[in-house]
């Protein structure tokens, strides 16, 4: 039995379709990431999973329980951390934790072992009002509260948005620890680099799932060879590459070749800023060296080109473009 199973879920807010026929299965014990930008539908999906919303169409089960019909029973087994900090600002750290434990009919003492690695980091501040904690500490408190009833499934909506890099790294390490306790975790993030921390990921955009797989297989699914081109004049390089790629054989048209060569698909030739380089894909029959010569001819000598490993963002971009065309 899968830990989480969504069957053809569609959700509308008035005329806006937030989720469009989403089906996904999360296995028991998995750390599963939903990766997508703001407005992709991540929060809507997580609210449905947390039994807080009824989907317009389709259904979802968690641990075999229906999120609509069996919501009372299900709530005992899920821990939910909303994207917006939702603890009581005018209660102290300790009071918030006790409050959550009481609501779920348990005590902090009973499940302390589970939250200990996380809670002990904020325990020195247990008399402080939650509203006066830093972002990283709020995040740790919210996670402690979501865990206090020892849930089997943890639903974390953008837990790392707005916290600094050190806190984010620590947070992912905590999730790895919880996973080893056998807790199934579904987590959402707009940050593509965090995908690598998950066992499997779903890429989500405009309410649709673009792809589901392990981060490695997602990266391997990039359909072409990707190159990074570098030159000190980044913007000039970008413009020059666009013009070179849009007319690959303008400088030295091989006799007859253009007549028979299929026109390169728009997907086959892209040039986009990425870090300190421009990421490009090459039209069929073009060698990396040809690009360097063409750039030289266009007045940009000294550029370098190296094949590079596509990141999750590159794949996301490719899938988005495919979806749009």
């Amino acid at each position: 039995m899968p830990a989480v199973a969504a069957y053809n879920i569609t959700h509308r807010y008035g005329s806006v379709t937030a989720l469009d026929d989403v089906s996904v299965t999360v296995n028991d014990g998995e750390l599963f990431g939903f990766i997508g930008p703001d407005g992709a539908g991540k929060t809507t999906l997580f609210r449905i999973a947390a039994t807080l919303m009824i989907p317009s169409e389709g259904r979802m089960t968690i641990l075999g329980l229906d999120t609509v019909k069996d919501y009372r029973e299900l709530r005992n087994h899920i821990g939910y951390m909303p994207g917006k900090f939702s603890l009581y600002n005018d209660l102290t750290v300790e009071e918030n934790l006790n409050f959550y434990a009481t609501i779920f009919g348990t005590t902090v003492k009973e499940n302390y072992r589970l939250i200990e690695p996380i809670y002990k980091q904020i325990e020195p501040f247990k008399k402080r009002f939650a509203g006066r904690l830093s972002g990283g500490m709020k995040q740790k408190l919210a996670l402690s509260c979501a865990l206090i009833h020892k849930p089997r499934i943890l639903i974390l909506d953008e837990p790392t948005t707005g916290v600094d890099a050190v806190s984010r790294t620590e947070f992912w390490e905590m999730l790895a620890g919880l996973k080893s306790e056998g807790i199934t975790i579904i987590v959402s993030t707009p940050y593509m680099d965090e995908a690598l921390r998950c066992n499997r990921i779903a890429l989500i955009q405009s309410g649709k799932i673009l792809g589901i797989d392990t981060p490695q297989k997602i990266r391997d699914s990039y359909s072409q060879k990707l190159y990074a081109v570098r030159h000190a004049e980044k913007y000039k390089l970008l413009l020059a590459l666009r013009s070179v790629l849009s007319s690959p054989d303008r400088e030295n048209p091989a006799p007859g070749s253009m007549l028979h060569a299929p026109r390169p698909l728009p997907l086959a030739t892209s040039a986009e800023p990425f870090g300190d380089s421009v990421h490009i894909t090459l039209p069929p029959g073009t060698a990396p060296g040809d690009i360097i010569s063409a750039l030289s001819a266009a007045g940009l000598p000294g550029a370098t080109i190296t094949e590079t490993t596509p990141g999750v963002e590159d794949v996301f971009l490719e899938l988005m473009k495919r979806e749009m065309s």
Binding site: G36, P37, D38, V163, V166, S167, T169, E233, Y235, K321
Partner: protein, 247 residues
């Protein structure tokens, strides 16, 4: 990017009572440079940026922004900079054109210039059909690009961006960086603060603050090489992670 300096900071100290928020900062930023400013929460980033934007005065040290002394003439600095906050900074219940006019007006541009440049801006962004659209009904990605275009509408010497591409889709994100590159190539300095290290990878140089001090400043490639890390993220955690934090 040129060697001409638009930001010069020498031995900047800012204290709040006995707390030293900025401890002897020294750095320069060049015209047309894309400069990344990183640091954990509480590292002193916000304090330094408030001084650079003319919102707060240094306790001691020299701070020149666009040649203007931040200690003596902070109001003048405000005219020469642009600012875009992490969360959307335009007015939701005004149209695209109204927002542009409002910002242009605040920066003292003439109405005639505003309308000429508005037409040009809408054209360049491919936004012609959105001139009379309320901001609230614009898709997220478009808002973010517009917010940036508005922040540089008055041709500032420096534009400050706070986590500019946080949460946007990958297509918008790369278009956004293209706009930043284009802006920098025009000679406007771009000062980026962010928690997200992949944004740092786009910068010409990156500085990392920790506990009030600058602990690293170089190109992303040189930083990675010097610290033997694959990414700025890894490097950042290595430098700034408190030794005491038990996990």
């Amino acid at each position: 990017m040129t060697d001409q300096k638009v930001i010069e900071v020498e031995k900047l100290v800012k204290k709040f009572g006995s707390f030293v928020a900025n401890d002897n900062l020294t750095f320069d930023v060049c015209k047309g440079e894309i400069f990344g400013f990183l640091g954990a929460n509480g590292a002193g980033k916000t304090t330094a940026i408030r001084i650079l934007c003319g919102l707060s005065r240094p306790t001691s040290g020299k701070v020149l922004v666009a040649g203007i002394d931040a200690a003596r003439n902070p109001e003048e600095i405000k005219k020469r900079i642009g600012y875009m906050s992490q969360r959307f900074s335009l007015y939701e219940d005004l149209t695209v054109t109204e927002n542009i006019e409002l910002y242009g007006g605040i920066y003292g541009m003439r109405m005639k210039e505003i309308s000429t440049r508005t037409a040009d801006l809408l054209n360049r962004l491919d936004f012609q059909q959105y001139g009379n659209t309320l901001i609230r009904s614009l898709p997220l990605g478009l808002r973010q690009k517009l917010a940036f275009a508005v922040a540089v509408f008055h041709d500032p010497d420096i534009v400050f961006l706070d986590e500019p591409t946080s949460g946007v889709d990958p297509i918008t994100r790369r278009q956004f960086w293209e706009m930043i590159w284009e802006t920098a190539a025009r000679g406007i300095t771009v000062f980026v603060t962010t928690h997200y290290m992949d944004e740092a990878e786009y910068c010409d140089r990156v500085t990392i603050m920790n506990e009030g001090k600058i602990v690293a400043l170089d190109t992303p490639a040189a930083l990675r090489a010097n610290y033997g890390t694959d990414s700025i993220e890894e490097l950042f955690v290595k430098i700034t992670r408190p030794k005491t934090a038990a996990v």
